[in-house]
Symmetry: C2
Subunit: 351 residues, 2 copies
């Protein structure tokens, strides 16, 4: 029997409009081979919607999304609208409204994609980023605005429940992989929240005797990801640290354009959201040269989360084969267009 | 006439006890050649002091330091005492009490020190880190401690005065170098303080029409430092972002062990403090193999800040020559001991 999934698609801004159609094409192709049918529901939300209506999405946007099995997002953000409006008007509210408290960011050496660092062994790590709280918050504000005495205050808010569930997810993931967990901290400089983070992570680890865990200061960890990326297995990090470390690790592995992410609601009570790590890249938008691999790989993560592990694996194998065969966009040393990469991925799916 | 300087020396913990004497030896040697006399005042503060007296430094520690022309610090921190005690009991109070609001961290390709990244052109950048406020604060705390409902809150506090002075310092520095300034931000995720940071930086830049400035999101900037480190000239960053980016840039240039820093009070009303970027490295402490270059280079920055630019330049030339000649510690691919590196630097000072 055909498995049907209703997917909300927000291509969004910039290259989102190019890489999302490319990925949808690949997803339809692999779906067909596995008796899966995607019901794509395209939503024209984003910065154009903001310009027209003063909002990134309609007032009932979250209700609309709630009726879907998953959300497939391209990118949001444009040079002429402050990011605080575009991101806090769409991306971050979705992550929070649907309790997508896990942001999963695998980073791997890909065939034919050269790494900018000298690394003997292939990189194969996953960053588990806390996605709902921490340093990203709307709590805070300013006093003496516009004057020489102006002060801006920002509150980071960490809850035991929030840290516990991300630590638990990361430890379980590590247990099913190579058994190593690294916790990013800054308990020597950030006095209140980071020692708390360390404590909660330590408590959770008591339930995972087979996982070897260590905590590393985020500054040293950033340096170490450049020097020894192959040493890492699973890294658990706060919202901000996970953000920085995942871009960094993506670059170390050879391309931010290939890096995928899943914003997961693990209990499955709400839709999860799948989006590449890269942004809307206004500098190359509209030229058809954007790298669609990050979006396609995010699509594979969506397949996996929807229960189609075999289809996900087939799609990953296909894009790896396409990369290995030399069909690559400019950012990773090739000359192919976005559409050519998608076509090569489909071709490598086989009959 | 001999220039005399009274220097407070806190070798501190771990390898601080090894690299500080090595650097003092080099500083004395270069001082002699420039009619400078250092009056070293050794203070046995640090974690042993904490174990004995429950404090990292005496109650009147800051008063003692105030009577000096500069502070020369090794490292603080040990595995068995929480960093919050060791760092907030010594390092951070000194930075704040003496309004050392600039943390200057030059990063350069050094002769004979291989970079772990493929980079065509040499790296020559300076990170100007805000050093007194921002994400590092003692404001905040916890509620429902120990319970499942526990919440930890941390306040980042940014003042217009604080951001303005670091931005101004960085812009002036850029004007005297290649004229490029990059401001690290996260105004798309951190809602209150980072848009404020951007505004204040923009206001300051109005006074520097010859400086080309751009702001980069800290996640993208971290990635870009791996891909194109040679593109950067001066980077201005908040306390936390500067911390992460400077370790990262040090690693990209080939060694954290070589990276120096100056905690400056630019008006010169209080002593400034000079310390390497690396920490106390308990894993290699006591073996005599620690890299002293970060400490020696920090000493050169101290010479420069004390008005001895020629002596500073001679010391830098000497350690570059020592490195080029192959006298290097293990962390940068050599076999030399800490003492051998110091001896080589002294030898390269010439007669
Ligand atoms: C030890 C720690 C508190 C300190 C900091 O984060 O400022 C260190 O990493 C540094 O960079 O000087
Ligand atoms: C756009 C921005 C708010 C976002 C984040 O920081 O979470 C992005 O960088 C990401 O990593 O998804």
């Amino acid at each position: 029997m055909t498995a049907r999934h209703r997917i909300a698609v927000i291509a969004g801004d910039g290259i989102g409009q190019e890489v999302v159609p490319a990925a949808v094409r690949c997803l339809d192709a692999v779906a067909e081979r596995h008796d899966i049918a995607f019901d794509w529901h395209h939503l024209d939300w984003g910065s154009d919607h903001y310009r027209a209506h003063g909002r990134m999405m309609p007032v009932d946007g979250l209700d609309i999304l709630a009726g879907h099995d998953a959300i497939f997002l391209g990118a949001v953000g444009v040079p002429d609208i402050p990011d605080v409006h575009t991101l806090w008007g769409l991306l971050i509210p979705i992550r929070r409204a649907f309790a997508q408290y896990i942001n999963l960011r695998p980073v791997r050496t890909l065939p034919g994609v050269p790494s900018p660092v000298f690394s003997r062994d292939p990189i194969d790590l996953v960053i588990v980023r806390e996605n709902n709280e921490g340093e990203y918050s709307e709590v805070g504000g300013r006093v003496y605005q516009g004057s020489a005495d102006e002060i801006a205050i920002q509150e980071s808010v960490f809850t035991r429940r929030g840290v516990e569930r991300v630590a638990r997810y990361a430890a379980a993931l590590a247990a099913g992989r190579r058994g190593h967990l690294t916790s990013a901290t800054k308990s020597n400089g950030i006095v209140h929240t980071m020692p708390f983070w360390d404590e909660v992570v330590r408590d959770v680890l008591a339930d995972f005797p087979d996982v070897t865990a260590r905590q590393e200061l985020v500054d040293a960890l950033a340096a170490s990801l450049v020097l020894h990326p192959e040493r890492y297995d699973v890294i658990v990090a706060s919202n901000l640290f996970g953000d920085i470390l995942s871009d960094l690790a993506g670059a170390v592995a050879g391309s931010i354009g290939c890096a995928p992410s899943a914003n997961l609601n693990p209990p499955g009570e709400h839709p999860s959201m799948f989006e590449p790590v890269h942004g809307s890249a206004p500098d190359i938008a509209g030229q058809g040269i954007a790298n669609p691999i990050g979006q396609i790989w995010s699509g594979a993560m969506m397949l996996d989360a929807l229960g189609h592990a075999a289809a996900a694996a087939q799609l990953i194998t296909a894009f790896e084969a396409a990369l290995a065969s030399g069909t690559r966009t400019r950012d990773i040393g090739g000359t192919a267009t976005t559409a050519e990469v998608a076509a090569a991925v489909v071709a490598h799916l086989g009959p």
